[in-house]
Structure formats: structure tokens, C-alpha cells
Symmetry: C2
Subunit: 202 residues, 2 copies
Amino acid sequence: MKDLGALIFPGFELLDLFGPLEMFGLLPDHYRLHLVAETPGAVASAQGPQAVATVGLAERDSFDLLLVPGGRGTRALVKDKGMLDRIARSCAACDHVLSVCTGSAVLAKAGVLDGRRATTNKAAFEQMMTHGPEVDWVREARWVEDGKFFTASGVSAGMDMALAVIAKLDGMEAAEQVAIWAEYEWHRDADWDPFAKVHGLI
Amino acid sequence: MKDLGALIFPGFELLDLFGPLEMFGLLPDHYRLHLVAETPGAVASAQGPQAVATVGLAERDSFDLLLVPGGRGTRALVKDKGMLDRIARSCAACDHVLSVCTGSAVLAKAGVLDGRRATTNKAAFEQMMTHGPEVDWVREARWVEDGKFFTASGVSAGMDMALAVIAKLDGMEAAEQVAIWAEYEWHRDADWDPFAKVHGLI
């Protein structure tokens, strides 16, 4: 059984968070999900609906997997030195670190992606790159794996990345079964990325 | 501006709810999202993470759109006469009613799909049919539109249906823009359904 801590903060993007959590959550014997925030309590998403953090980062920051979603709330997060320090410490303590969309800008600003390959949202790619000048940003990728870090492109890409993580940790058969349960057409190819072209990145 | 009420109940499926809410939420000038439950407060999903209902059904049941997700919590909901009555009243009061996955079993049991075409989760299709013997169940469909009702197949199908609803209410250009923002490969064809075959329904 693995513990997955999913970070939420005011203005997190709904699908960045709950897309991957759906996939991991379909294997309840393999993953236990925790919503984590600076302090426990209700946190409003970018779209309005609130989720409840049951864990505060000061209380626990070590999980088998850490998931960092994006959303317009990342604009404040990349300026919050205290939270960036806590996130960097949590990344050091976790076996795998996953980000979706602009969540990788948070990881970059926390310094944990320096010297690593990573990707992010394709609509705001150039701007996101400024948060990590030492990161090897990949312009065309659905997701990128580098060591213990998995970074996904925009929003829905988190679901494809989550299935890739499941394939790695639980085997391809488990990932395929999860995709079928969710009636999800999984893009298994990390290089599949029509949105890089839509946004003129290639 | 349209008000969308999304019903949550103990054991709702995360992606059934938050997939469509992501899509509608990307048009904040068009849709205002409300999480609705029997009574306001935190409600645990099938996967564990909790969301917060800000509206109780007794307080408000009339919205421009009502969204009913599925999840294992529907097993209790289809036996809850009080809630089924409230849901039926809410369906009568809303301009559009959307369900995802086993959420259509709840609508069927509430009697609002009698004589209508509808679809549901493909893994539990035969069992779901028993909740609505007077419903014209469609075995092969990503989603089905009949009058004011849109019913989606399992879990991730809700996102494709949400985009179809947006295309209908806001125009195709808006739906295409939302899909690009979410970096989502939209299945625009309501008849696209490889999972009907996977589960031997066709």
C-alpha cells in the first residue's frame, strides 16, 4: 500500500488534481489518497468548488508519492517562499513526485527540477520556463519522466501521466485495467502532444 | 450566466464530477458552479477525498443545469426514496439534466428517464438497466442526448458529454477552445464507444 499526498492550495485546477486521483483511486488496495495543504481545512479550487485537506504540510510531508496540481493559484504559490521551502522538503522526502500543468512551475521555483527534463502547460509554456531557468524544458511531450519526477503537460495530461506511473509501479496490466474501468482512452505515448503545435511551440 | 448544480453524495466518483466541472469551469463568464448535497457540508468521494457542498437540496433545487455523477454511493442512493423524490423534483425544475456513469441509474430510479433514450457505465450495464425498465438503454454510445437529458457512459465519458453540452449552449467554437485549454482530446462523436465492445455489449 502506497500513500499519495496531493497538494491543494487556493486556486488549484480541478482536473489537474482529480484526474490523476481518479486513476490512483481505482486501485484502493495499492494507493491511499490524502489531500494535503499548508493547514487542514477546505480549500477553494480555481473553478470554485472546494476540497478538504485532511493533512497539514507541517504535520506530514513524507509520502510515497506527492502530486502537485496547477491552476491560477500557482501564481501566488511561486512567490510564497515558506510554501516553496516546505514543498522542496516534501519532494526530498517522497519516493515519486508528480506535477500537472503549471504545477511544474511550482516545482521549478522550489528548485527541485534544476538540471532535470520537465514539461508543463503548453498555452503558458514560455512564461512557465522563467520559473526554472536551470530546468531542461521539453516543448513537445504529454509528460516527462526524469528520475523520481513525472511532470505532465496541461490539465488532462495528468491522467495519461498517472496511468504511466501506475504502469511503472503496478505493471502495465494494472494501468490498462484502470483505463478500462474509467472508460478512458489512454495516450500511452509520452511524446504524443498535438497541443505543442496548437500553441506554436514546435 | 448559467447556474450549474452538481450533486454530491457519500461515495460519488471523483472524475464523474470534476471532469465535467473542469470543462464548464473553464468558461467562468458562462457558468457558475455549485456543489449541492442533501445538506451542506463535506462529502467523501468513493476514492476518499472530500468535497464541500455549499447548497442543500431543500434550500435550492432549481438550476439551469443539474449534474448527477455516479460512483459506488449510487447503490445507496437508488434505495433512498426521499433523495430520489428530491432529485426528481430538481430534474423537473432544471433546464438541462446531465448524468455520468451510474448517475443515470439514479435518474432512472427517480423515474425521470422513462420513455427516454439513455446510456450508462459499460462495465455494469446490465445491472444498471434493472433500475429503469422503462428506459430505452443505448448499449453503444459515449453519451446520449434526449430532450433536456444528457447521459454519459462511464467516468471519463462525462468530459466528452460536457463539451457537447457546451457546444450546444455556447457554440462549437467555445467547446473547441475549452478542449484546447484543458489539452483534452475531445471525442466529439457521441457514437464513439470502444468500451461497449470491451464489455461484450455489442
